[in-house]
């Protein structure tokens, strides 16, 4: 799903000074914070689990705690990606849609069971326990070496003030306030402090990377989880491929039928009319003229039908100008007031453009038909290799993908973009407004030429 391999370290480059001196220690402190929170978290999880046997409240508490645990683990994954360059994929088993939608206590219980039976939940828990030790240890070095180096210099200069204020007069193995021959030993803190500063500056980013790798050990997918994810992926691909083949076959049948009943039939009629006119032209020129006029009309109608047919296969504006202008053209043709904002590279992959176009077209048709809306907003943008589309109307809401049937409506859109690994989210409370979001992975054609 992601373009990164799971749990891999990104290409390493030399850290900048800003990263060495500023980001590494700050990240170290943040990761210490994460470790400390983990210590609290695993105790909370354990407590709520133990409360299941003693009091029923544990049953209500545990799902919430597990959600927090998962959220924390996902935060750690994200930080590992952003700070350490270690990309960690989420290895959780998906919750089936029907189970996710099940209401009431039974549904909650079954979802809890599904969560608990996911081995990754246990690995997350183990990570929370160990991270409060291992993670904190690694992070502490990154966080403190530079500061300890600075402290070494400060104490070397101002030890009388500091020790009189009651502070420890030892810096590592150096007793700064020792009197006698070795009075000047306090300056000995300088090389040691300098060593800490240099070591901190050089090891800081490396330690943060190490922390990321440690995170990947338990939060990354196991070989088994990876295999499961792959089988799920294969199953999904098989399903969407079947959908794609079905859709295409249906589309071809429709085109064949339209041609057969439309343009083809009109051409036959035209031929017959012209034949009859030819026979009549000498004896009854007036009748022949009428037949020829009829033939001309039939040719105009055949053209209109062919035009509509082509528009349904590949709309001209989409071919000419790409998705942005094509959606603007859709907005103009809609009976509703439609605002369109577009933030797209010149052209996207043609197949994705077409799928997105027909999805938006279907959405606007749906809004016009069912939503009782007056105003629609369509936003299109492309970021991080994904095309995103949102369509918001001010109608009465209550739309859902599950409710619509057959190839039409929202379910049809979901199936259609599913072929491209696209996903759809519908938020439509009764009373409105309705917001439909589509997300389709897709490279822009300009970016494509530069990378391949």
């Amino acid at each position: 799903m992601s373009e990164y391999a799971v749990g891999t370290v990104g290409a390493q480059r030399r850290p900048t000074w800003r990263e060495r001196l500023l980001y590494a220690p700050l990240r170290g402190w943040a990761l210490i914070g994460l470790g400390v929170w983990n210590a609290v978290l695993w105790s909370l999880v354990l407590t709520s689990a133990s409360m299941i046997s003693s009091m029923g409240v544990g049953l209500l508490l545990l799902p919430a705690m597990l959600a927090v645990l998962r959220g924390t683990a996902n935060l750690a994954r994200r930080l590992a990606g952003e700070w350490s360059g270690v990309q960690i994929e989420e290895p959780y088993r998906p919750i089936p849609a029907d189970l996710a939608a099940e209401k009431g206590f039974g549904g909650m219980l079954r979802r809890l069971l599904a969560r608990v039976s996911d081995p990754q939940t246990w690995r997350d828990f183990a990570w929370a326990i160990l991270d409060s030790i291992v993670g904190v240890t690694i992070a502490s070095f990154a966080a403190s070496m530079l500061i300890y180096g600075v402290y070494g210099i400060v104490i070397g200069i101002m030890w009388p003030t500091l020790t009189h204020a009651g502070m420890n007069d030892w810096y590592t193995f150096i007793h700064v306030s020792k009197s006698g021959v070795l009075t000047n030993l306090r300056w000995a803190t300088f090389p040691v402090a300098a060593a800490f500063l240099v070591a901190g500056a050089y090891a800081g980013p490396a330690l943060i990377r190490l922390h990321g790798r440690w995170t990947a050990v338990l939060l990354g997918p196991t070989a088994k989880a990876r295999q499961e994810a792959l089988s799920r992926r294969v199953a999904r691909l098989t399903e969407t491929r079947a959908d794609a083949v079905d859709t295409q076959a249906a589309e071809l049948r429709r085109i064949e039928r339209d041609l057969h009943d439309g343009a083809q039939a009109r051409l036959v009629a035209m031929g017959m009319n012209l034949g009859a006119a030819e026979a009549l032209v000498d004896q009854h020129p007036e009748a022949a003229k009428a037949l020829m006029a009829e033939a001309r009309e039939a040719s105009a109608k055949a053209l209109t039908e062919l035009r509509e047919l082509v528009r349904g296969i590949h709309p001209p504006v989409l071919a000419d100008r790409g998705l942005g202008d094509a959606v603007r053209a859709l907005a103009l043709d809609s009976p509703l007031a439609v605002d369109v904002t577009v933030d797209l590279p010149a052209r996207l992959e043609p197949a994705v453009e077409s799928a997105a176009y027909f999805a938006v077209s279907e959405l606007l048709t749906n809004v016009a038909k069912h939503a009782h809306a007056t105003h629609v907003r369509v936003d299109l943008w492309h970021r991080d290799g994904r095309l995103k589309v949102t369509c918001v109307d001010d109608g009465r809401g209550g739309a859902s993908a599950a409710g619509s049937t057959g190839s039409s409506g929202l379910a049809g859109i979901e199936r259609r973009i599913g072929t491209f690994d696209g996903v759809m989210a519908v938020r439509s409370p009764v009373g409105g407004p309705t917001e439909v979001t589509l997300e389709i992975p897709c490279a822009s054609s300009s970016a494509k030429t530069s990378t391949s």
Binding site: R296, P316, T374
Partner: protein, 214 residues
Amino acid sequence: MRVVLGEDLYLLREGLARLLTAHDCEVVAAVGDGPALLDAMLEHRPDVAVVDVRMPPTFTDEGLRAALAARKHVPAMPVLVLSQYVEQLYARELLADGAGAVGYLLKDRVFDAVQFVDAVRRVAGGGTAMDPEVIAKLLVHGSAREPLGTLTPRELEVLGLMAEGRSNAAIAAKLVVTERAVAKHTSNIFAKLDLPPSDDDNRRVLAVLAYLNR
């Protein structure tokens, strides 16, 4: 009347040239791709250019782009755009400069030589010739809005014909009524849409199109 013709299909190009020549037009250049069309338009400065939207080299909206580019150099150079499809978006782009002297018709309209040549002349004379299909879509799009909803069916009909670019006389002939009746309808329409009345046909049409395009 001097005409530049831009159409990539040989048969259609020859057909159009013959049709125009038969109606007292002089085809000064007949070209088959976008860049050549732009060059020809700027070189010959014709009384009107008849242009196909889809042409080489990209086979997208080459002709439309060439026409818009030419009008940027020579404001209000008369252009009649022909296409297998009419798109509101393209109609808007042609009308955007508010200078008039544009036409946008389906290729089928060539079937009716008299009407087609009439449209060519209208555009050459600084008028407009919008395809009934474009106007129908504009009216559908605007029908939800308040003032348009207050027009009577007859007034809507007149509005549609007016938006296509027809004069009062032509509208009267088409609807089989007197010119005075049409004039009465148009003044009603202008009052209801709150548009400034104008005696100039072209300015009147542009006002209506601008209104519908809003």
